[in-house]
């Protein structure tokens, strides 16, 4: 337990500067793009007069110089106040936390599925590297990795939703169905199959390759020969001894990919009409809704920091030598 506490302290100390850099960077980036939320409000209305625009800018504080806006924003962020979205006329915290759960479910399931399938395929491939099974798995992994997710998603929709009609085209639940409890859960699960598959396929390719490479390396080490000499079966050697070691780089990748998966959810959520933070982030960029975007960045950064902390804990569990001292 002591090791975990040390890790937590160290991670928290690193998190504060990370957050500051992320927030300031994003604030400046979106300031660099021409146009602000008042412009996009005018566009969404099909036009408007300049007096209204000026009044709105004054009301939203957009007429202040940017260092003042940035300082105000950082000060509010320190107190966990995410501010107000002028595009949605809603508190940013409400917007983001309404949508975060579905994105986390989508991301978590996709990563879990990718880890399970990718890890298993990688292990199977490594067992007889160079064999026919290995080649087949490698080819499959390459295809998963190379196909862009917007295309995969569309093809899955065409096949499973349009042609076979096994699964819904999009959304997270049947609208106005009034389902509750387990029936509602199953309905949501059915809706999430295609988006999860789309998001997971890319990572299956990655994890498969990482697992395979790591296992092949571990197979050459001395303790494996010892294990074989003890009379363990090849399966026991591969999954008990080799796979456990090979999982360390996999855990590293998982931590790195937490951010990538959040980014990937932008595409997947738009395609499958999933009301998550990815889509909210995309809309916020297009609408120059600075407050909403920075709120999402803030919360996403917290999520990524949390996932990486969990990965550290997992390291410590997989390899007892880590985190001592």
């Amino acid at each position: 337990m002591n090791r975990v506490a040390t890790l937590l302290r160290r991670r928290l100390a690193q998190a504060v500067p990370t957050l500051l850099i992320v927030l300031t960077g994003n604030f400046l980036l979106i300031r660099l793009a021409p146009g602000d939320v008042v412009d996009t409000l005018m566009i969404s209305q099909g036009g408007g007069d300049p007096a209204t625009a000026a009044a709105l800018r004054a009301e939203y504080g957009l007429d202040q110089p940017w260092p003042v806006q940035l300082a105000l924003f950082l000060w509010k962020s320190l107190r966990f106040d995410l501010g107000f979205s002028y595009f949605y006329s809603e508190r940013v915290a409400t917007l983001v936390f309404d949508r975060l759960p579905i994105t986390l479910v989508l991301m978590g399931t996709a990563m879990g599925v990718a880890l399970a399938i990718g890890g298993t395929l990688g292990a199977l491939a490594a067992q007889r590297a160079g064999g026919r099974r290995d080649v087949a798995i490698l080819a499959f992994g390459l295809v998963c990795y190379a196909l862009p997710s917007f295309w995969i998603g569309l093809m899955l929709i065409v096949l499973f939703a349009v042609k076979l009609q096994w699964l819904p085209v999009g959304g997270v639940a049947t609208m106005g169905s009034g389902l509750a409890g387990i029936a509602h859960g199953l309905d949501v699960a059915r809706h999430l199959v295609l988006p999860v598959a789309t998001l997971a396929l890319f990572f299956v390719g990655v994890y498969m390759r990482v697992m395979r490479a790591a296992m092949i390396e571990v197979f050459t080490q001395d303790f494996v020969r010892t294990a074989r000499a003890k009379g363990l079966s090849e399966r026991q050697v591969a999954f008990r001894h080799v796979a456990r070691h090979a999982m360390l780089p996999l855990a590293t990748m998982l931590g790195l990919h937490a951010a990538t998966a959040l980014g990937g959810s932008v595409v997947v959520e738009s395609m499958f009409s999933v009301p998550g933070v990815g889509r909210l982030a995309f809309d916020a960029v297009m609408q120059r809704d600075v407050n909403t975007l920075l709120g999402i960045v803030y919360v996403s950064a917290l999520v990524v920091i949390a996932v990486n902390f969990l990965v550290d804990v997992a390291y410590a569990w997989i390899d007892p030598r880590i985190g001592e001292g």
């Binding site: 146009g35 009609q165 959304g171 609208m175 106005g176 009301p275």
Partner: protein, 539 residues
């Protein structure tokens, strides 16, 4: 002394709106025997551009009306036949001879969805505090409105400081006069009133649930003032930002309707061949857009009228109609679309496709081809608003290259485009859209008049200034004689097409994809933006 105002729709002003709707229905479908409508059913509609604000009195835009027009009602709606308005919340209207007073008689026995009575106080509040003070187009149309008097609960007298054409007011009524409940808005911050996401209206449907990013749910209003309507039990607007997904959902039978061309243009033909679906291009006559090619007259080459005319001749509009719009459009002839029969004139200068002539005109204008075959280069900034504004940019670059003009193309996202083109004027040529709103005075003359400050989208940001043009626009704005007003707008169209600061190149309606199980649809010129009280599934 009052007299009967001009304009169609007046003869039937005392008819029940229901009867008028039935008349429209009969007129809309004589060619094919329509199955009888049945009561009940849940309609699933694609909601491609989700709106944060559904207050149509505040934001008069297509995407807001798609949902809000079922909940909130204007004073009157466009009629089923070409032109004219039919009564909704107002049952009749008269204009005084001096053009400064319009009296509306309001429908009795109408209740808001929360049970309160609808009265003239609601109309007064909406007109003075919302349309005139805050609404994007109402601010211009109602700028001279000085007071709304309410002698009794069902009469509203609009007083104007300067004469206003009744013709303009009637044309503006369907889009600009959505009435809000005074008791929920008076004394509040109207722009940020939480009711804007959950409007309370008098319409045939009540908004019962608004799940942002998922769906908006409307339920039948059992107390609607027209007891025979609505037919549907429920309407679900499903938020779907991806157009390809909307096409797929249509194919899978998960949607009954999508409006405003919410599927990718290349998918339209394929969807139309499916036995369950119908692609409909009517019902948008009151929502015609132009796809435009806009010039920056600050650019020395484009200052020359001959160069602009040469470019107009260099563009093959027929090709654009067939390949960008899949045939669902036609060549535009001027700033007023041909569907606007009251104002349209075909008698304007035209610029048929003739690349050889374009080349000759450019030679004569003093821009011969250089050693590399190029005359000069232009910054092309296609608008990002629609799929077609981007595709037209691609086409334009090629068309210009054929006549020796090198187009350097760069596409921005909406927020940036607005600043680059309409505020900073850092462009030479751009594509765009112009929404015609049934009267040139609402959103068309502003494209040609001087005096709009930089930064206002869909206004004259081209550096175009012609005193004769300004004079015609000013004169028409306060001309109350409809015949003279029409003549002035004919002149306006001729000057616009002679000077071409922008080319209204393509005139297009939108397209809907509709389930064949639906009846009574697309039966008025603003159908997607109307109440759908008579829309039903076939029995």
């Amino acid at each position: 002394m009052m007299h009967r105002g001009p304009g169609p729709g007046i003869g039937r002003r005392d008819l029940l709106a229901g009867a008028a709707a039935l008349g429209a229905l009969a007129a809309a479908g004589p060619a094919r025997a329509q199955p009888a409508p049945r009561r009940g059913g849940v309609l699933r509609v694609a909601y491609n551009t989700e709106q944060p604000n559904l207050n149509a009195a505040l934001v008069a835009s297509n995407a807001v009306y798609l949902v809000a027009s079922k909940v909130l009602e204007p004073l009157a709606e466009m009629d089923g036949l070409a032109g004219g308005v039919r009564p909704l919340l107002a049952t009749g209207w008269d204009a005084a001879r001096d053009g400064k007073t319009i009296t509306f008689r309001l429908r009795q026995g109408v209740k808001w969805h929360d049970g309160r009575d609808f009265t003239s106080a609601d109309v007064q509040f909406s007109a003075m505090e919302v349309w005139k003070a805050l609404q994007n187009f109402g601010r211009a149309v109602f700028k001279d409105l000085s007071a709304v008097e309410t002698p009794d609960a069902h009469t509203a007298i609009f007083r104007f400081d300067a004469p206003i054409p009744l013709q303009l007011v009637l044309n503006a009524i369907p889009a600009l006069t959505t009435v809000l409940p005074r008791h929920l808005y008076a004394g509040t911050d109207i722009r940020n009133n939480p009711r804007n996401a959950m409007p309370v209206g008098t319409g045939p449907f009540k908004l019962t649930e608004n799940r942002r990013g998922e769906y908006v749910r409307l339920d039948r209003n059992p107390d609607y003032w027209d007891r025979t309507q609505p037919f549907l039990d429920q309407i679900l607007f499903r938020a779907m930002p991806d157009k390809a997904a909307i096409a797929a959902a249509h194919e899978a039978g998960e949607l009954d309707l999508s409006c405003f061309t919410s599927v990718p243009l290349p998918d339209i033909a394929r969807l139309g061949r499916l036995p369950t679906l119908e692609v409909v291009a009517r019902g948008y006559e009151g929502a015609i857009n132009h796809a435009t090619i806009e010039f920056n007259l600050r650019t020395p080459q484009l200052q020359k009228l001959e160069v602009r005319k040469a470019i107009a001749h260099a563009v093959d509009i027929g090709f654009v109609v067939d390949n960008v719009f899949e045939g669902y459009a036609k060549a535009g002839t001027g700033p007023v679309p041909s569907t606007s029969s009251a104002f349209y004139t075909p008698d304007v200068p035209r610029y048929p496709y003739d690349a050889a002539r374009a080349n000759r005109m450019l030679d004569e204008a003093g821009f011969p081809r250089g050693a590399n075959g190029t005359r000069f280069s232009l910054r092309l900034r296609p608008a990002p608003w629609f799929e077609y504004t981007r595709l037209m940019g691609d086409y334009l670059a090629q068309a210009l290259r054929r006549v020796g003009i090198d187009a350097q193309m760069q596409v921005f996202d909406p927020g940036a485009h607005l600043n680059v083109v309409y505020r900073d004027h850092a462009f030479d040529i751009t594509t765009g859209t112009h929404a015609y709103r049934n009267d040139p005075a609402i959103s068309t003359t502003v494209l040609y008049a001087t005096g709009t400050p930089p930064g206002v989208p869909w206004s004259n940001q081209y550096g175009y200034a012609n005193p004769a043009m300004d004079a015609v626009i000013r004169e028409a704005a306060n001309e109350i004689d409809p015949a003279k007003r029409v003549e002035l707008y004919h002149r306006f169209q001729r000057i616009a097409q002679e000077d071409i600061p922008l080319l209204p190149a393509v005139e297009h309606a939108f397209v809907s994809v509709v389930s064949r199980r639906l009846v009574n649809h697309h039966n008025n010129p603003r159908w997607a933006m109307s109440s759908w009280a008579d829309l039903a599934f076939a029995s």
